[in-house]
Symmetry: C2
Subunit: 360 residues, 2 copies
């Protein structure tokens, strides 16, 4: 829960205005890269992280630990570092080195904590583009992301279309539905009901119980019923009781909850969660098809039949809106017991679609 | 959160043994009825309540407030009180007048609270049958229930088959799947993480925050994505913020959470929730089809395509197991945006199947 050890640090000493109001006095971006930027600076692929991810998408000599998309990136991998300069920046509003609640408050009394402002997917994309500018890249070869990362790539593709040629958006959405906002609400409630939350000013005693439960709730939606029913025993694994798990699946959820405590800050959780709920490409009153008419980049849209967080119908809505606007769209739907998390787990399957799209 | 005001009270002063161990020194059952038991005592229909329900299924002169299945019961209604003696008992382990955590602890120091033992669906059915015995009924015309009520009717139909001729089980299951246990785990965690929970010995200061959140979590699964996306605005209804709702659907969930505080006890919530997770008709190592071979009652099995708590596939598994065992089975699948809660809301649609089955 800090800047990944191998990350580079970019600081832009100018006010960074925010879509919902206010500004940060400066912008910090933590980022990592793999492969080499060519002289024409036209072989760059930006990875946009999902909610729980960060700039360490892949191991490197500076940080040999496995990244969250380890097998997606590398020589001969779908994001082929023999050909592309692949880079990834931690998210604005998160807790992995880019400006967020753990950053120093310029007012001079420690970290922002609960005083960090609300951010949007649009803000996060402008933070990514500040890094793209810093690298002297006019136009990305591609931007690639899943889930919250796909919200960012779609935002970039349609609102900053001249900055990228190819948009890869897996299991994202054009616009968060109430049914999905309902789910994210539950996780935020879990954190904020924890008495240790203290309006976000929790210092060294974070609302760990709430954060754990938020993660347990999330895990149920990130995966699928099919997976749970195949993976876990149907009979009680322990003597029936209320003080600990009775079923194997409970032990799994408890473990997932505990795991996030090492890597995530609750104030960041809240801000990233609400940013996803507020994601709406139509927010300026413009249909997706009209947005697509204005740009000439191409799109890979795909998702998972079993996704219970962001349904495959939403992927179809994105695809159809883009097609109506005359965009070039490639499409896939896969069946995966992993559900929403397939882009993180079924890397070979998803990677084949990505590689083919990047070739085209 | 007590015995419904019109309920009658049965007390059986003998030890009531429990499936998971231990015994209650006596059994109390709160119940209500509508219509008249005939001389042959063969026109009785038992309603088995779902998780959040109780014996007040229908208004009466003693309690004119609407019951939870008001339109299902009455003269000319699917459970036709011109023909049937319809009765309903609150659940063992619950908080509506039948023995549960709010009952007096025979050890003499107030209510049981967190010391009330764990109960099973099998225990609840034996408590229902104690009432059936008390009424002098050898064989019910039918037992009818949805969700947790359907678990009870199936348990009664297959383990006490001589006590009823017809089994109506809507949106129940033969055996709780890990994917459903995962969901109920979340609600129990919400309650038990509340610092006011105090191992269930919370007296007059219950873990209201945890209970609210448990209900909010439940509500997301009791209803469907389709309903939320049609019913609620997609744009923020309030200025984006973390201190209150931003979206209409959040305000709805918060309201649902608040509503349960008046009607439910957290210790009861935990016990009923775990009882559902432990529900397993196969628990003695016997296939459903073999259980069905031993009885000769008939079954109405049905469910909802959009159910995200107990999937329609589970209804099909129950149907197919019963059919393999040679049982007479009638079947329905309905599409309803209400999802799992359809048996409570789409009463006319569900009631038509029930009425036809009772006629046959």
């Amino acid at each position: 829960m800090a800047k990944p050890p191998g990350a580079r640090h970019l600081e832009i000493g100018q006010p960074f205005t925010l879509e919902l109001g206010g500004a940060l006095p400066c912008l910090e971006v933590a980022w990592e890269s793999w492969g080499t930027l060519n002289d024409a600076r036209d072989n760059a692929i930006l990875i946009c992280p999902a909610f729980s991810a960060h700039c360490h998408a892949k191991s490197s000599s500076k940080d040999p630990s496995a990244g969250w998309w380890e097998r997606m990136i590398g020589p001969g991998a779908p994001l082929d570092t023999d050909r592309y300069f692949v880079f990834c920046a931690s998210l604005l509003g998160g807790c992995h080195g880019t400006s967020g609640p753990l950053s120093s408050n310029p007012e001079g009394d420690g970290a922002y904590e609960g005083r960090f402002p609300l951010v949007t997917i649009g803000d996060q994309v402008r933070a990514h583009l500040a890094l793209v500018d810093h690298l002297g890249i006019d136009c990305l070869y591609a931007a690639c992301g899943g889930s919250m990362g796909a919200m960012q790539t779609l935002e970039m593709g349609l609102y900053h279309g001249e900055r990228l040629r190819r948009v890869i958006a897996i299991s994202g959405t054009d616009r968060t539905r109430p049914a999905t906002a309902a789910i994210r609400h539950l996780g935020r409630r879990a954190i904020m009901l924890d008495p240790q939350f203290q309006d976000g000013m929790y210092g060294d005693t974070p609302p760990f119980a709430g954060l754990e439960l938020a993660r347990e709730i999330g895990t149920v939606f990130y995966r699928s019923q099919k997976e749970f029913n195949h993976r876990f025993a149907w009979e009680p694994a322990y003597r029936p009781n209320l003080n600990g798990p009775t079923f194997e699946v409970q032990a799994y959820l408890l473990h997932q909850g505990k795991k996030i405590l090492r890597s995530f800050d609750s104030n960041a959780y809240l801000r990233l969660s609400l940013a996803m709920d507020l994601h709406d490409l139509h927010r300026h009153g413009t249909e997706l098809s009209r947005l697509a008419e204005r740009v000439d980049n191409s799109y890979l849209i795909g998702g998972v039949t079993e996704d219970r967080l962001i349904t495959i119908d939403e992927q179809k809505a994105v695809r159809d809106g883009l097609l109506q606007g005359g965009a070039h769209v490639e499409w896939f739907e896969i069946s995966s017991a992993v559900g929403h998390d397939a882009f993180l787990v079924d890397v070979e399957v998803v990677g084949r679609f990505i590689a083919a799209f990047l070739e085209a």
